[in-house]
Amino acid sequence: MIAEVQALLHGVWPNDTNALLALHARLRRLTNAPSASTSVVRVAVLGGYTTTLLTPLLQLFLARLGLTAELWQGDYGLVDQIALECPPALVDFNPHIVFLCVGTEHLDLDSVDREATRWQALWQHLHSRLACDVILNTFEPPHPRVCGSFDVRDRSSATAAVRRLNDTLIQQAPTYVYLHDVEGLAASWGRSRWRDNTLYDLTKLPCAFDVLPEYARSVAAVIGALRGRSKRCLILDLDNTLWGGVVGDDGIAGVRVGQGHGEGEAFARFQRYLKQLKQRGVLLALCSKNDESLVRRCFAERTEMPLAWDDFAAVAINWQPKHQNVAQLARRLSLGLDTFVFVDDNPAEREIVRQYLPLVEVVDLPADPSVFAETVAAGLWFEAASVTDEDRDRTEQYRANTERDAAEESVGDYGAFLDSLNMVATVRPVDAATAPRVTQLINKTNQFNVTTRRHPQAHVERAAADVDGVTLGVTLSDRFGDHGLISAVIGVPATTADGHPAWAIDTWVMSCRVLKRGVEQFVCGELLRQASERGIRELHGSYVPTDRNSIVATLFSELGFSQVAADPDGTTRWRLVVNADAMTRHEQQAPPITVVPSGRKETEQC
């Protein structure tokens, strides 16, 4: 479905609002019917503005991200009332996300403090009643300015008040609040183009008619990020993409990048942008028809380039067709093709990737390298829900994996290879320190995810506080590096057929970085051990198939669970009796992972 919507949108992109609305009407069948390749997101839109033209566009752009949006719209203009009341219809709708579609028109700027308190009260109330995430816009300074430049210094001006309010809200927003940056969006379009006061007076639309799609696409990107649909990896060509010229023809000294002339500055600007993406946790990979040793030397010798060889998590530099190389990069990085964005100056290469790998997003680079960065950025592929320390280290972790793959080849025997990794794990219940990362893992993981249930942080924290259930956060390190927190389990209280306590595995996710390392056996062993200690008689598992998690279809069977049911939708249900046999079998099959007490506990004991 993503590819279908993508193809349809290709013709009307970027901002023919009427054509997009007509397309939405035609696609209603498509957007209303969840298919195997989509997941549902429930979004409640509380509008200070008229949102009836915005929501179809939102649905369309979410469909493009593989999300079937169920929408609930509050009555126009009743944002505060609905948020504070949470009427039964809203509670029953059970939204994952509440989007407060409000703007500067809805503020009383006489008191910034009072406004800050107002929005905090609304998001706190929504979150505590609905356990949802909340999206709130940043506010635009009024257009036009009253007197011009002096508005910024006059503390009583609306411009100054809006700035103070935005700063306060940004500082005070908890993790479940996502600030959708309408202020930045409006500024990048130009306020006079973003606003249409005639239309506003008639309709109370949130922005000018022609930029409604941009507004909707930007909200969709934030929702996509919250639901794990952001892209993870940018695949880059080299010649005339990262530098001007062809290194094989022009030589290392001959390619244009860096200061001194316009073309070199343009490519350096693009490289600086890519470096910033990498620092936000986006992986960069090279896919180029070139000689790898020449390219390595080019990076080593042209040190004025912002990007270095080590900035790339993986490379495919050879003369194979690009679609084959891209598919291979996906396998090597253990990432889905739908997490890739492909950037290449050559239209023929773009076309072949589009044809063979429709899940990969392909960027149509313009001829002018000075606008490469804004062309890639305009796709909003890499909207982040949060940035954790793991994100910042991600390229290092993937690079370490590549070295590990090399080690695997040299060792030959897989058991001996695992032994040689010197794996060390910590296991502890989810707590305040690990809940953000656990939540991120739950919402981003698509492959090793048995149920693909997405949970907001509040839900994770509640599960962690449930004394009858169990939560596990597992970290892993090995001789190549520290992977951080790579697996999480939420087990909820259940009962056996004869009324004894059991745990049902509501959620089990694991980062694909550590696949085939025995971590799943290890985690299952931990669950068994803790279950036994706490008098739990059975572990219940279920596997809910999606188009991306076939990797865990046989997980429970491999771990010794017996299948007890198969639902019509393909879900399979499994049971493992907690007894001496199961414990012994797991101990015998235990992978070579040493458990150490977690760092936090040691500190606490000191």
């Binding site: 008229t50 033209l53 008619f209």
Partner: protein
């Protein structure tokens, strides 16, 4: 300068982009005749008409329009 008939013919394209090809434009046509012609589709239509003729309407003008005939007169005046 466009004749009234030419304006009506050009309006058909704008109407089709909002309501589909089933709605046939005539000077007598009004919002009462088309089920989907609600206040928001009215705005979609006005934006499409503004683009098609390269004109801008004020809020007062948009509010006063009742029939395609009145819209045609307004366009006639704006493009004169």
């Amino acid at each position: 300068m466009l004749t009234r008939d030419a304006i009506v013919a050009k309006l058909q394209t704008a109407f089709t982009s909002v309501f589909g090809a089933d709605v046939i434009v005539s000077e007598q046509l009004s919002a009462n005749d088309v089920a989907e012609w609600d206040s928001l589709n009215h705005i979609r239509l006005i934006v499409a008409v503004q683009k098609a003729f390269g004109v801008r309407f004020t809020a007062a003008e948009v509010g006063s329009l009742k029939t395609v005939g009145e819209l045609t007169t307004l366009i006639e005046r704006k493009t004169a």
